[in-house]
């Protein structure tokens, strides 16, 4: 039997901020979305204050100030680096690691020396000591059960952050404790429907018949059922699955009215999307652009539009993509509107080494002629920091850039922003 463990970082974004601000330990913290819009992460203390997820910052700022909550702009540079550190610690000690999200990973603990529980306790302490990020670990016979165990470990303080559902004397009690809506793979819609059939907990769901579940919820639901019964249906995925589409878009820091600013922003999002594209070793055949005004501002003229630009030859060459995207924006831009957002979507992705060539295509080497310069650019930016080399089309300091007034330092990726210690 495989023994899965789910390692989940506790309040990950808040924990990243706290790793460099010990004074904020046990104090309420929120992290805001891009442009300091809404609350996207809350520390436990904030949850206890009854402040909800997703509320706009400007609506609750007064309350946060009054209750001594520290707010941060999202510092994804920092969170990304801290996530990589946690994952590397896991990879150092565990036989197999599947990075599931920025703050979660499944590991295979089958047959680890000393048993899964003792191993997990040690692993938890190591991750926390090495990176400063606290984690919870749940152990189960399937990924779904590991998720259930993890939730239990996190919510029940007597577990001290680690729970082993495989060797639990009463596993069904934990399943009865687990709300149906909190079961991995059961969405909000299905949860609501199941409740109407009086299926309230993971245990109730486990008792249902296979046929009923398959009929009502298709094969995905059936997999969840089998996983809860201890039969693994979700294989261990070695690496991230390449994405079928890549989206890069942001809301602007301030409303944008001028075409040249939209073009700069478009070039910027193209650059990011193309970097992602090359990282997963794909090329794109279609560039889709969109722009929109702020629909939440009544009384203002509203306009939004999209345009899809097919490329003659699939490519990951940033200038080609910028040219295509900018021509699209140029086409759909209308004067007299205050735009809130624009973006670039790359679709029709295919692997660079397995793409379809057509008779009407340019000769195959035309695809790769630009590859070395893109590679050189990516390597430089990886080595000396993002945007060391960038395209002039992106502009110098556009007013459209994101608002991040409460951003912490990039402690781990920028020499100028290191933590300062008093000697």
């Amino acid at each position: 039997m495989t023994e899965y463990a789910l390692i989940d970082c506790n309040n990950f974004y808040a924990s990243c901020e706290r790793a460099f601000r010990p004074d904020l330990r046990n104090r309420p913290i929120v992290v805001l979305s891009n442009n300091d819009g809404c609350i996207i992460a809350r520390s436990n203390e904030v949850k206890a204050l009854g402040i909800e997820m997703g509320i706009p910052y400007f609506k609750c700022k007064a309350q946060l100030d009054r209750q001594g909550v520290t707010a941060f702009s999202s510092n994804y540079t920092l969170y990304g680096d801290m996530s990589a550190r946690v994952m590397r610690v896991l990879q150092r000690f565990c036989p197999a690691v599947e990075m599931y999200s920025i703050d979660e990973a499944f590991v295979d603990l089958t047959g680890v020396p000393g048993g899964a529980l003792a191993f997990s306790r040690h692993l938890k302490a190591t991750v926390e000591n090495w990176t400063g990020i606290p984690v919870s670990i749940g152990i189960g016979a399937t990924k779904t059960l590991a998720k259930v165990a993890n939730r239990f470990a996190k919510k029940e303080s007597r577990c001290r952050g680690v729970f082993d559902l495989i060797r639990s004397p009463e596993p069904d009690r934990v399943l009865r404790w687990t709300d149906i809506g909190d079961v991995w793979g059961i969405g909000r819609r299905h949860a609501k429907r199941l409740r109407s059939f009086d299926v309230q907990t993971a245990f109730d769901f486990k008792q249902l018949s296979r046929d009923w579940v398959k009929r009502k919820m298709t094969v995905t639901g059936l997999h969840t059922l089998l996983e809860l019964r201890g039969f693994p249906c979700h294989e261990f995925a070695a690496g991230p699955v390449p994405k079928k589409t890549i989206v890069s878009s942001r809301s602007f820091g301030h409303p944008v009215t001028r075409l040249e600013h939209l073009l700069e922003a478009t070039a910027q999002y193209c650059t990011r999307a193309a970097e992602k594209l090359r990282r997963q070793k794909s090329v794109t055949s279609t560039v889709l652009v969109f722009l929109e005004t702020n629909t939440f501002k009544p009384g203002q003229p509203q306009y939004s539009n999209t345009m899809s630009i097919p490329l003659q030859v699939s490519t990951a060459h940033t200038p080609t993509l910028i040219r295509a995207a900018q021509s699209g924006i140029d086409h759909i831009y209308r004067e007299g509107y205050a735009f809130k957002k624009c973006g670039v979507i790359l679709s029709g992705l295919e692997p660079v080494n397995g793409r379809w060539l057509s008779l009407l295509d340019l000769p195959p080497d035309a695809h790769d002629r630009h590859a070395p310069i893109m590679e050189a650019m990516d390597t430089c930016n990886a080595r000396w920091g993002r945007d060391t080399l960038k395209f002039a089309a992106v502009g110098i300091n556009g007013s459209w850039r994101m608002k991040r007034e409460l951003c912490s330092q990039r402690y781990t990726t920028a020499w100028k922003e290191l933590l300062v210690v008093k000697a």
């Binding site: 010990p22 004074d23 990589a84 550190r85 946690v86 590397r88 610690v89 150092r92 190591t126 000591n129 090495w130 990176t131 400063g132 070395p372 310069i373 590679e375 050189a376 390597t379 430089c380 990886a382 080595r383 000396w384 402690y411 781990t412 020499w415 290191l418 933590l419 300062v420 210690v421 008093k422 000697a423």
Partner: protein, 154 residues
Amino acid sequence: MKRDTRCWQLSGHWVGRVGLLASRGAFELPLSGESVPAGFPSPAEEYLETPLDLNAYVAPRPEATFFVRASGDSMIGAGIYHDDILVVDRSQQPQQGNVVIAFLDGEFTVKRLARSCDGDLVLAPENPEFSPILLTPETDFEIWGVVRHVIHKV
């Protein structure tokens, strides 16, 4: 590590060169800068070893290694000067005698973890103009990491 010696010789081919330079480790010394005539086997080939990597030397556990900047003169005796970069390893269990980063009274400080003549635990400066900080059970402090190396600009 695979290396392409041809790239060193194509001086006009800046793209490949920049890419190659950037893709190397942070600080590596090339084993041989000599050019090798085409077709003639290099006698050094069988002796190639992995180039020295300063990262591997100062940060054997990169996931637990953090860089911080020192500010002030209290550790000059330990070779830590104002504006130096300290290489901090969080995987190290702090021992008596280690130079540590401690979080004390709301700020980070770098000092040596030591015992006073009376046997009390102290955070000791290495500059006679500063006095040691006594750590009592009531002191609210924590050790954030152990300093392993100092990077000092000459």
